[in-house]
Amino acid sequence: MEGNKHFLVGIFNDQDILLKAVKKIRSEGVKIHEVYTPYPVHHLEDALGYSRSRMPVAAFFFGLTGTILAILMQTLMMGVDWPMNIGGKPFVAIPDFVPITFELTVLLAAYGMGFTFFITRGLGPTAVPTIFDIRMTDDKHVMAIDLAENKKSEDEIKQILSDAKAEEAYRKDFTEEEFSPTFGKYLIDVLTNGVTVSSRKLN
């Protein structure tokens, strides 16, 4: 069993029960590994004690880069490298440069932030998720508690979970390989009709 992962999985049916449960379980000193929900549950991040997302900061700085790049590009090309008289306007006609500056600001802010999100959350075409319970992308809220991270015994935590109105609470073990599967392993599993951990059976 060395290097293996042992979890207790609690299944919740309702977002409001889940929110109360998270607060209650945390207040009893149990460390929650993560909660998986089929849709964003408001204030869950507060209940879990996560600090606010700093994605807006990323967006701001990428946007600022876009603004500066656009202004530099247009002034250098139109004002310095090859000035042209267009409609009798100045070579660097600031009002005319506003639309493109705006567009490039938005473009860089959106894509910069989008990719920051993908990269920091480890999302990508070859990323393979760890599935605690197959219903977590369907209709159930799934709470995973890592037994190695907690001092309390399995039974104690199970009791706390059912006190917090978990619909089900069961133990789930992963091997190291199952817990962080590689894309290659995942492909082979699917192609050889092997069933990846907890996923549905293939036809």
Binding site: G87, P95, D96
Partner: protein, 450 residues
Amino acid sequence: MATETHELNLEEKFVFSDKAKKKIFLTLGIGIVLLIIGIILEMSGGGHGEHALNLTQDNLASINSDGTESGGHGHAYSWTTKLFAGMWINNLFFTGLALIGVFWVAVNYVATAGWSVGFKRVPEAFGNFLPIAGVLMLVVFVIANHSLFHWTDTSLYDETSGHFDAIINGKKGFFFMPGAEGVPSIPVFYYGRMIFFFLGWVLFYQFIKKQSHLEDVNGGTKHYRKLVTFSATFLIFFGVSSSISAWDWVMSIDTHWFSTMFGWYVFASWFVSGLAAITLIVVFLKEAGYFSFINENHLHDLGKFVFGFSIFWTYIWFSQFLLIYYANIPEETVYFLERLQSDNYSKFIFINLILNFFFPFLALMTRDAKRKMTFLKIVCTVVLVGHWFDFYLMVAPGTLKEHGGFGFMELGLIMIYGSAFIFVVLSNLAKSKLIPVNHPMLQECVHHHT
């Protein structure tokens, strides 16, 4: 969550305290003093010297343009012009605030917005200023007439007078009477529109207010449904009347000039100022201990509105400017040249953009700023001042020409109008329940969170 069971007093009533009244009267008093100082300064000092200069310039202008471009014919500048222009700017600005109060209430009913219900009595109280604004608008127009509106000079329509202006003559039908022949006398059509719009707004407002107060007594959803229908009707009326009044009261000052965007430009400026005023009063009432249910989330949304519509105003301003700048047609560029090339006004263009775009944009960008009352107070005040200058820039160059400036008189007038407006709003706010307790969406507002 701890906040789930609110033990809030929703039956609260606003008390217009003597202390607050005293402050308002003090402001009013200072305003009057400043105005008098301003008038005396204008009458005695600098005004006179410029007066003489102005006459010579007028003569030059008329010689140069062969009487077709009659910049300042017949109405020489005097200190009263400055007073009237100042009053007209405030008329426009405060009519806008009052009107946007009603507009905000109507829009929220039609859009079935729940989060703003709790403080809807604040914008609703704005509407009480409409009758006063209407009377002021009419009176100032009657008295000022010529000194503000070049087109009221009937000799412009008289081919024999030497002042005949073919372009303005083409607009005769709009100002005086459609199909008017010969030299007109009284701008009946213009007066008619002014009275009709104010009457319409006041009547719509009275109905909305009455239903809203009946709801407090009777409860049920009957009044709510009536209000939705009535708000929709008001919005149709508003959509047409706000544009036309902008042409009438603002665009016709620069009589030759025209821009199809203008109606929406004035609306955008009105709307941001209205939003800033609503936010400011809500924040002040909250600080005075009212509106216990209002939390950071409500403030956040109000902040978002001020932020978003500041950008919207900039969009409208910039689109109009860019198109005129780009096409470079003299008939149109004159409007911006008059402002940008003038020592008096060019600085205000930049002040306008800084106060109304850059400042609110940068200050309200972060989430935290929108949720803090101190920030909102600063930004909303700046935005209100900024949009006053926006109206100043619309009115002053066309009426005051090279005599424009910002001094005691303008400051005094703002204080007088501002304290009158606040007095009307607060005294009406005290007359009914502060919170519409029977509004079917009130609980949504009380439990609002982002």
